[in-house]
Symmetry: D3
Subunit: 280 residues, 6 copies
């Protein structure tokens, strides 16, 4: 993760700075230092503080006296999340990019935590999906973990999930499962998406090791869980589809093992954070 953080910070700074920060070079003395407080402007869950720091450091902030909260901790509107002393030029040049990262990651962690909170007392877990912002999957998946969720497969090479179109292309649920299980590494379980009890039954008979109940109403989902637990006790059950904050507890109460939520990453909004800077 460390090298990925450095790589992302460098790419993002290069994007935002270009040849040089014209304004800061012109107006801020080269040797001026400042005291900085990173302050929350709304409640949230912290995620990305290392990337925030790495970005400022790469921007030339020459950070000293760094003191910060940890990823995964909750913060309230008005709380100080980090304090440090730095070169004013580096801080001002890196500020926007560092905040762009942090606000996005905190947004995801905070939304994830809200989902997780709904499941209080249940064994069911909240998982992310592949509906991530292109090029930012690594840090988005980290933010989901910081918010208390778990990660689904990282990408198409690290897990097998047979969807509707794969089934159609293979010529049926059983044929698709057969092919996938032959090709699967012995370290991988084969998961398949089903949308009805009939498809579920075919999938379980075909040797599915994980089933994804997609877009089922709660009654069907309950029946699906009951059937699976009774007949195929070793099979894991995931649910997905319209998993809103309102609906997620009901989904979990059907007894599924995990619920995957695309909105965690494709529609989290930024958490408002701000740098207060005092020149020495």
């Amino acid at each position: 993760m460390h090298q990925e953080i450095e790589r992302l910070a460098a790419l993002a700074l290069s994007e935002d700075v270009g040849q040089e920060d014209l304004t800061t070079e012109a107006t801020v003395p080269d040797d001026l230092r400042c005291d900085v407080r990173l302050v929350a402007k709304q409640d949230g869950v912290l995620s990305g503080i290392d990337l925030f720091q790495a970005t400022l450091r790469l921007a030339g902030a020459d950070i000293e006296d760094w003191n910060a909260r940890f990823d995964g901790e909750r913060f309230l509107n008005g709380e100080v999340i980090a304090t440090f002393n730095g070169r004013a030029r580096g801080v001002l040049t890196g500020e926007r990019t560092a905040l762009n990262f942090l606000q996005h990651m905190c947004g995801i962690a905070t939304l994830t935590a809200a989902f997780v909170e709904q499941l209080d007392g249940l064994a069911c877990r909240i998982a992310d999906t592949r509906k991530t912002m292109p090029l930012l999957r690594r840090i988005e998946k980290q933010a989901v973990v910081d918010g208390g969720g778990v990660n689904h497969r990282y990408n198409l090479a690290t897990g097998i999930l047979i969807k509707e179109n794969h089934i159609a292309a293979a010529g049926g649920i059983q044929e698709a499962l057969l092919r996938a299980r032959q090709s699967a590494s012995h370290l991988m379980r084969v998961e398949i998406e089903v949308t009805s009890l009939d498809e579920l039954q075919q999938a379980l008979e075909g040797g599915a090791e994980v089933v994804l109940l997609d877009n089922m109403d709660l009654d069907t989902m309950s029946a699906a869980v009951a059937f699976t637990r009774a007949n195929y006790p070793g099979v894991l059950i995931e649910a997905s589809g319209n998993a809103s904050l309102d609906r997620v507890r009901g989904m979990a109460e059907t007894g599924v093992d995990l619920i995957s939520v695309g909105a965690l990453t494709h529609s989290a909004t930024a958490i408002d954070l701000s740098l207060l800077i005092e020149h020495a």
Copy 2:
């Protein structure tokens, strides 16, 4: 833009595919082709259709009979945005990444269009900010244009905007402006952020060529516009701060030239789009 599209599509596919798409390789015949419809699941403004297509192409979709709407056009829930025929493997492997791009760009274009609509009949324009998703600025700025907005400076090297902390570091508004104007290329205007009428007056006396009225209430903003128009008719006026859909028309009616809105890029949510695939 063409090379940037290719570059982003390749990077994003590499992130999502990894070594190989295990599921598709196992279940989908190599030579199977399919007819595909890209369908809207909610109303919106199209942006990113070239990137969508490039992503599928790079994933091996071998696209034929491509037929699609144009960026900037509005679509309604249920409308078909594009149709094409392609290799099933390539379509399934590239589907998620292509949609991740397109849904995000449409999200930004749609939100931008909502802001622009509020200003109907006024000369005032909606601009983006540097509050973009790191590594995706280029396409996010394109989405703002597709939604009817205009682009603020691309990055720190392509425009001068003196903010509060630059002023403090330079020792005052006039000193900051003096330094910035000496350093500025003859092709650039110097912009400065002010938060009160007093600061505005100092900025205009100091030779500001563009002023940014930040976080002013509407009365102050109106007074600021009036003062500037009366005394410094060549100066351009930008406004920013809490520019919500509710509030933006009021801001525009004060007579400012443009309003910059961070939410366009930092908090747009994905537009729901879906691929309907029929195997030949």
Copy 3:
């Protein structure tokens, strides 16, 4: 795989050609074409013919009339594997690099096939390991498949395998398994290495989903298989350690599911192949 092939061919050519092929530029006319036969100088299994072709193409061979055997096919000493017509300069410049790739991949495929042949009639499979040539894992794993073997996890991110040192660090087999299972994705099985029946029992009690019997003598291995099949029928069994051509059938006959063989990739020797070139 296609993009990886292009990438490897380009890097390898750049390594072998440097600024320019001094000899060929000096001695071979620019427009000379030639007929080429790729001939086997020993028996083997073909692997890497696409990479071979891509390398020549990138070297400027302008290939026409390409006709070649397929990966996975056996060839005998003296057989023609491919024929084509090409620009003489490109063929000569790319020849060595193209053969370096092909001879190495055929070496691995041929050695793998020899192992697989030993297991004729048994359900047990031959798998590779992570003992690959750095930077060449992708094509080496392909060569194993072309030789009839299967791939173990691609890298440390695509599978969990707890080894002796992880156990020691975690404080015991059960603790290591507990931690690994908590952290594992629902799509992954947890594998653990054991070297005795006692360790095996602990591992199975701790919830191991796959066990790796490492460096056991055949009697112990048989006992391990019997115990596992009797008490934990869903658990997969892998064996490793000194899996030579002489010993591998005996290992397989104990009833293990797969045998992993480091030598497939770390010690395969090149298959002798040669280009016969006739200038038009």
Copy 4:
């Protein structure tokens, strides 16, 4: 070489680690350190110890108390080659890649040393060829030197060697030599491959500065050396073709200056080495 070592270590780790080392992250405490011994499991010649160390360092091993033998030294089965203390996570994550490099380089150095040993007391030297593992030429050539051999040209840009196909394309030995000498830098000697005494004579008359006797039997080779030494005393003589350990001394006794051996790099097998790890 230092930058190349860093580059290779980073690329190879990235290949083997992927997004993260799932097993080690789950099972090994973040702050655990360990004492490590690198031990030989067979006799050999050391090569690549810097790359081994760099790989572990990049993997996060935070190495202390490093103590190691030097490249080029012989080691016996059971000997300790290096000892150090490191972070357990980094050591376990980097172990396989570090060993993959080291075992391959030691394999080459050990094989080279075996060839060199055959020539004891003779002035003849053992050289490598361009039959290297793609992307690993730099370290393979270093391993040859560590084993006591010398390097032939690094690539096609750093030396001129006219082979059979160049001769055919140019229209004859003399024409090929003429073109090559006109094009050659004044700092380079022109070498040409010959397979008979007749070709040798033509080559020497044509101004060859180095001759490569390819695939000659020993008698012909002796005659070729005698003729060259008598008539063209300044010309260097290389021999190649089937230079096995059995045959190489006979070849050297014909009086050639150097013998190039493709097997050094294309068919060296890994030397068995092992990390013994003790957690503090």
Copy 5:
């Protein structure tokens, strides 16, 4: 600028060193250190001393006791520009590349200073153009600043300058200006090239914010300045075309704001500098 310096130094060293510095490795002891003086062999203006140092450092010079003049300072033939102590191997390997950079940058700074000197007492400034050495624009623009000049736009994305061919393509001066002003960011001024008083008048009426008087004789230029100052006092005036050292003062005396000079970067010759090395 710091990261760009590192990047350029690394690329240039890689170009000049290749696999290794054969001569230095063979002849210079690994631990030998030396005292070095960088001496001017002709008068000039210093530019690029940081890049010079970075190059030697990356080459392994392990620099100590560094003592150097500053960029922008004048030096005379025979003066010592820098002194330091370093590893002999690193100094010798990096010497040529470090000097290639420094001599080129000093050449540009020195030529720029000669132009600037001609304008002594006038407000007119000397600017560079886009006629730079490909891949070296960043450091060439720095050298112009070190010589007392100012930078024109960095590239095509950081300024709008309408030239003759744009006018023709757009269908006239006024149409080109209209389009450019609509597309221009509010932070940019639109510049247009004119070659006659008639074109000038059209440009000013069309809203040009900066005019470039190209290839005008001095009388026309004077008239153009007079007309512009009288009628469009806010408009900036640039002149270009055959701006030789002989002619530049005359151009400046017409009252233009800046004069752009392609020769600063496309035709500056290297300043002769030399390293005097004393081995300890």
Copy 6:
């Protein structure tokens, strides 16, 4: 060379275009095409026409009806060097970069040709040095060849040249030669720089295969050549130092084999060339 041309064109365009060509996008219709003539504004020798074309092509010029002179040919002021038809946007966007390359390469080829012309009737050749523009060595060396010169070693890895500081570090001429010859590949000749007859004699006794007479007056040079030819007939002789156009024939008449001239690459000025564009 082809891939290097593409690589350089892409890097240089990226440098000059940045995010987009604001002016051309705004003013030139997307589908406008134009007829273009590349015209010489002074006499010269052509070099770089492929790179010129590749740059325009990459910029989107969609070139048709390409008709151009060949590298190495002389052109006169006013002559048309190339004609073609292209997309106006691509031509205007790529024009400056394409010309920057071409004017620089023609500058070097033209200066080289002027030196070569001085040696008319003599066997002596003109060579370049390592005093090249960083990052542009490949094309500068090509330009020297196009001007009729020959290339010295490409970089420090492709030739051995012992200079004054290597001699001092090694402890003397003979010691330096001994070490270099031991380390040299059998395909390389060892060259050494000498500045007096005494040094020359030591070098020849020490086995130098090429001598570089550096900064000698013509009488000493003549004596050096005479001594070498008489006593070491196989040794090649290079001369360098202050090789101006005035002085170079005198140097050549001493009988040296080649003269290396740093100015060819470090101080060639651009040849004035211009694109005449006519919109269809």
